[in-house]
Symmetry: C2
Subunit: 367 residues, 2 copies
């Protein structure tokens, strides 16, 4: 994807009407008067995804979304799902949707480098908010509007469409005991966490799932972070006897998005736009529940069935990563005005959520 | 509501087909072949609620649900919302839906004493799971099936339809410094938390919102727990200069439910049953986001604008409440086989979530 080519499309686009019929949904449907007259047309959409078709959690989430759109539109929108590489490679999903070669995509914002640095913030912020807090920011704190602003120039509309919940810190050939242990480490990590690792002295590789296994087999990486127990176990990352570190400082939650081509969206009558909006929100909730329940099951199995050595990152390591995260965010805010707006909005909301968390946290084992 | 009258209806009811079209939704829609032929009929439903019409958070959630049902059914189900006392009193919502004098209700399970003691577990369990964990239990851990079993004898189908998130511990005329400070205290508290308070030596009153204010004015209570900063501030509980204690051990999350009369539900063609199911899930997510964002805003205002004295319950107080909670749950499990099944399922899921939480908790201020 070439940024210039996309930026050329940015001029003269009317802002989407943002008055969703359900208050607080942040849905971009227009009023009935903005929509086409509903002529009973049927729509056939292609969905390109950033994950292997049917892969647990993420690929399954894409399938769930396709079914939900079909169901909520009373069968009037049918969606055919393509896995990564079936139609386009994982990292070209955004481009395919922007070009209209697919009407809808399912992916994660941190994959779309060419949208600008701010995109990464809409997947995860290291040491950031958990899923509930992040969704509250999107729906009630202005986050979704910022996200839509960011993609507007590309004629793509993002919809929150899932969350993995908290992830784990990753698999390490050698135990991490102090910040210096990260120096020279060759690690697979994506998004802003990767940049923080780079500043910790690590060599960072961004690899797709299967490529991680190849890299481990070939001895090309010393560490790898993927999703969390559910995804990691499915991929087989526990098979090398590496140390499993927690917590997942790099992704306290990770948003998954549906990307919809603006023309395709606007070609829908208003009721079908609502159906798509609602389907995304249902798919979002479904995915978080799926990961919440399955992560724990998988973690139990990793401990009991495979004897995986679990180890918390020592506090000095977390402190160092935290300091570097602040550095990365401040530099982004300085260099890119869009990123700055997103970061300030996010930090403001997070600082308030941190206060609220302080009053609500209850150790379930207290007493 | 008389239990015997309801129990008389329990015989010979066919179990609802539980194969929802969206896997994992736990929705009770049958397959297309089970449903009525869709004749394009329109449906007019009355919704009775346990809250004042339009009240923030809860009443607004009922309105949101009514709009969502209307929208997702393409206008084929219209829902008229009645506040508490408009058609029936708050505590008679369940009975009205069971009898069919309203097709749908919006309330909280702990209000329905006559359904049996297990009902309380479907609002809150003291020292229990947070919202995300609770919803994972409902959708992925068998909780929703148990809830539906419980109401089946009354021809009422419950749908998770909101959550207040974590609540606060309540307002206290005198600061609570040790377990003995609870003895002789006259406190408004509902649900299982109330029973725990009773065992702590308190006198417990279950009062509706407005009645709490009357009781405070008349000097009839020394303490009151309501919802959380958002609801508490709206009600005006901060106006007496009392101590605001946290955390809300009695309600780490509180489920709100939609109750649907079985005949009304089964009269719907399958696509409209799905619309209702999905509307409940959207309304559920919406309410949690609303409370998450508004609670924090309200808490800030209580601190900054009103100088409310905030105080964490000392650990010995929480430890004592925790011990009494275990006692209450064990007695319930001994005395009522239905409650026992629910408690064991809940505790099993919670013990696993506690382990998962341990691996994911990340102090946002670490470093």
């Amino acid at each position: 994807m070439r940024r210039r080519e996309f930026l050329g499309k940015a001029g003269g686009l009317a802002a989407l009407a943002s008055a969703g019929a359900l208050a607080g949904c942040g849905s971009p449907e227009g009023n009935a008067s903005d929509g086409m007259r509903d002529t009973g047309l049927r729509f056939h959409w292609r969905m390109v995804t950033a994950w292997p078709h049917g892969s647990p959690g993420l690929g399954a989430g894409a399938d769930f979304l396709a079914r939900a759109i079909n169901e909520l539109s009373s069968g009037r929108i049918s969606v055919r799902v393509f896995g990564a590489d079936d139609l386009v490679p994982a990292l070209e999903v955004f481009e395919a949707v922007a070009r209209g070669s697919a009407e809808i995509g399912h992916g994660a914002a941190h994959y779309w480098d060419d949208v600008g640095p701010a995109a990464q913030l809409f997947t995860s912020v290291p040491f950031g908010m958990n899923a509930q807090e992040t969704h509250a920011w999107l729906y009630k704190g202005g986050g979704l509007e910022l996200w839509r602003d960011l993609y507007r120039h590309f004629d793509v509309i993002p919809f929150p469409c899932g969350n993995t919940g908290a992830q784990m810190g990753g698999w390490f050939r050698r135990e991490i005991n102090e910040p210096a242990d990260l120096e020279g480490l060759s690690i697979r990590m994506s998004g802003l966490g990767g940049e923080v690792m780079r500043r910790s002295g690590a060599r960072v590789l961004s690899l797709a799932g299967d490529d991680i296994l190849d890299a481990i087999r070939a001895g090309r990486v010393d560490a790898a972070e993927w999703v969390g127990p559910y995804g990691d176990k499915e991929l087989g990352l526990h098979r090398w006897g590496w140390h499993y570190h927690y917590p997942g400082w790099q992704q306290p939650s990770a948003l998954v998005e549906a990307l919809i081509n603006r023309d395709a969206y606007e070609a829908l009558p208003v009721t079908l736009r609502q159906a798509v909006t609602h389907a995304c929100r249902l798919a979002s909730d479904h995915m978080l529940m799926e990961f919440t329940a399955r992560n724990q099951q998988a973690l139990d199995s990793l401990i009991q069935d495979y004897g995986v050595p679990l180890k918390r990152f020592p506090e000095p390591v977390l402190a160092s990563l935290r300091r570097l995260t602040d550095e990365v965010l401040e530099e982004m805010a300085e260099e890119d005005s869009t990123a700055r707006r997103v970061i300030r909005s996010y930090q403001d909301f997070q600082s308030r959520m941190v206060r609220w968390r302080e009053f609500t946290d209850l150790d379930p084992m207290s007493g």
